[in-house]
Amino acid sequence: MGLLSFFRKENKQPPVSLRDRGILVFENTSEVIGAENVLKKGGWRIRVMGPPPEIRTGCDLVIEFPLVSELEIVRTLEEAEITPLQVVAVSDGLLEPVNVFFTTDYGEFVMVQAANMKITVDKRDLTVVNISGGGCPDVPYLAAQMVGRRLDQAPEPRSIGHTLCGYALQLAFEEITRKCLP
């Protein structure tokens, strides 16, 4: 048996098409991140996304999941004491929070952008010098907590953020940490 066929056999979940997706709506981004961790650990093929316009309330996030697995997924979350506010089927309109990172080298500084959020670090001492982008209400707070601190001493955005911007910043933070810290 070849290596590729082994991976195909392991992939038990059918591909998710536009017609069989559902979304889980949570009270806040912290719950979304907790649910993402639980479900990914359980092997579910899920994605964190921006919600469709009809249920968007601001800088919020949802988890897209294969609708056929709804009962098992909700049960898994309830066991982890993370109960979604809503579970709905969707046909389209989900927004990708991030697909690609952009890195810009400014010489002594390096910036990583994920979606709408940018983090810039001084390469000499690995201090966070700027957090920008967004438009979500928690961005000034995130910046105040992170600017002036070394990457390895700054709080992770996922632990203090509450919005889509916080989530995007977490991705940028992970990427710049991967680039800058051994």
Binding site: K118, T120, D122, T127, V129, I131, S132, A143, A144
Partner: protein, 74 residues
């Protein structure tokens, strides 16, 4: 004010980087920084304060913000 950083027309993080660069390389203890967005004003203020400088005043002149910054006494 003997040193001026003009970051108008630039988007973040460039105004922040220009201000930090000036702070680190200059012997001056006072500077003025010109930016033209509220985000840049906030980001530059936050960045220089994290380096031990103080924003003494912010003046609005049309669409320009003029930040007067001073190295804080130790």
């Amino acid at each position: 004010m003997s040193q001026t950083v003009d970051a108008r027309g630039l988007s973040c993080p460039q105004p922040v980087l220009m201000a930090l660069d000036a702070i680190k390389k200059s012997q001056e203890t006072e500077m003025e920084v010109f930016v033209d967005t509220e985000a840049s004003r906030e980001n530059v203020s936050r960045a220089v304060e994290s380096q031990g400088w103080k924003v003494e005043s912010i003046a609005t002149e049309g669409e320009t913000f003029r930040l007067e910054i001073r190295k804080a006494a130790k």
